[in-house]
Symmetry: C2
Subunit: 313 residues, 2 copies
């Protein structure tokens, strides 16, 4: 009888680990450091050792464990392979196979942003939905696409990379990816700051943002206080993000669209602005698709990784 | 032993029918008229009668038939229901259930453009691929998304409606859907004519297109002859379509991208123009994703419908 599964979210500094009941109850969570030295070769063995120790501590035997799911920062394909993971100093790795060999447990792997979307679809802001688009607004813009309850990893592990949708072909500054005009350049925390700086230069209008440290939080705070210049920045941000999400809806027509990541600490005013722009751009049958804020915060990754471990049971 | 399946493509004027071997060999195809009178209530019974007659003629018994798949012009959900189909005069209909009741055979239904994409992924331009984006350029722009070998129908049957991606938010003319700036307004046969007329008005440059009946074919013919104005129209068309497909690739990262429909009679020069613009806009891991022309022409729909009938076997 399978009672447990492990959900592991591998970050560049720490690995978040979760022991879950198969019904999605988080039994316990903990962290271990990510040892990226020596091309990160200790990362998976460290995780395996931590899982074994937890099983021993709890008196859990292998027969009770459905499996281990891992979320990893990089383009994982649906076989659990990755060509490289810059933040972990990894080259090619067959993550799921290596973890199976290390633990003797069935293992699966996915991109971390994709896993977060799966977690939110399982137990978070889109609980119960099988068709979900999620945008994660942090330093960059990540994303995840859930179709029929499963992650769309894509042919090159690039499924859900909505941060690199080419929203503004006339943009002259380059994105980190090398293209120009990516959604990430407008809808990430750094993108919002970029839009704000540009607006502050372009326009001499008085603004709360003048003379302060311009951050995404400062922009949304000023917006909530009715600052006109901040309002124009939020309109631009919401215009790009809302239109990008509307285009995602034309592709796979989700039940729910989620927005998560640090930028969404701005809360309902952000959601309302994006929803307004989404509705303008969305195809008629999708105009009323609900946009919601993600709920699980930093735990989304371990929830999604745990769900990944349950795919076949 | 299941040896056969039926693939049915329901159009506004005729119903295309195909008897297939389960390995995808088309045994026979034929057409019957689509009787749209009386709210189209004879359409499914006519199809059922034609299937029964074909089985009798060939001495095929129900036990040998895996099922019937139907492609229908409208937003079919993954349960085989449709809220309405304008060209068939249908209101709500549970297509698959009604066909099962009429024939005693398992039945499935999907949107016709989605079915065409599935057909091309099965036996056409993307044969063997399980992850496909297809754009169909006809009077409008249709599309289909195949993930893990299955149609992405979406929560409202709007999966694959890439013709309504909002590519040009500043466009002032309205699309048939009511929005402004849809891909369909630039990349359909009528969209290409619209772009050409606009360019002819905007610019006094001499052109083969002046004084002729401006059609999508005329634009591509002039382009192939090196006409400068036609070249600018094709650049615009390819820019919108290539960028739209690049955005689709950010969402679900296909193995193959297909372009089909009447407009693609223009052939390789069209494909090359779109590929060039696709590569400019695509996210790095997807830049080399192959773009190909669809192969099955008007038969794509019956192939895809037949494959739909085989989903569970």
């Amino acid at each position: 009888m399978k009672e447990y599964c492990f959900g592991i979210d591998v970050g560049g500094t720490t690995v978040k680990c979760g022991l879950f009941h198969v019904d999605g109850t988080l039994e316990e969570k903990w962290e271990i450091p990510t040892r990226t030295e020596n091309r990160g070769k200790e990362i998976l063995p460290d995780i395996a050792a931590s899982i074994r120790a937890k099983m021993q501590e709890r008196g859990i035997v292998a027969e009770e464990v459905a499996g281990v799911g891992l979320g990893v920062p990089g383009p994982v394909n649906d076989k659990g392979e990755i060509p490289c993971a810059v933040n972990l100093n990894w080259g090619y790795k067959h993550i799921s196979k290596e973890m199976e060999d290390l633990t003797g447990l069935p293992a699966k792997a996915a991109n971390d942003a994709n896993a977060a979307a799966l977690g939110e679809a399982w137990k978070g802001g889109a609980e119960g939905a099988s068709w979900v688009v999620m945008a994660t607004l942090g330093t960059g813009v990540g994303g995840g696409i859930i179709v029929d309850g499963k992650i769309v990893s894509g042919a090159h592990g690039a499924g859900g990379e909505i941060g690199h949708m080419n929203m503004a072909p006339d943009e002259e500054e380059a994105c980190n990816c090398g293209n120009q005009g990516c959604l990430e350049q407008m809808a990430s925390a750094t993108g919002i700051v970029r839009l704000a700086r540009r607006e502050l230069e372009r326009d001499a209008q008085d603004s709360i943002l003048r003379g302060v440290d311009v951050t995404a939080k400062a922009v949304f705070d000023a917006y909530k206080q009715g600052d006109g210049l901040a309002g124009r920045v939020v309109d631009q941000f919401a215009g790009y993000l809302g239109r990008g999400l509307a285009m995602c809806a034309c592709v796979m027509d989700p039940e729910v669209i989620l927005i998560g990541g640090g930028v969404t600490k701005a809360g309902e005013p952000l959601l309302e602005a994006v929803q307004r722009e989404y509705q303008k751009a969305a195809f008629a049958p999708c105009k009323d698709t609900p946009l919601r804020l993600a709920k699980l915060g930093n735990d989304a990754g371990i929830y999604g990784a745990a769900k990944l471990a349950l795919y076949d049971i």
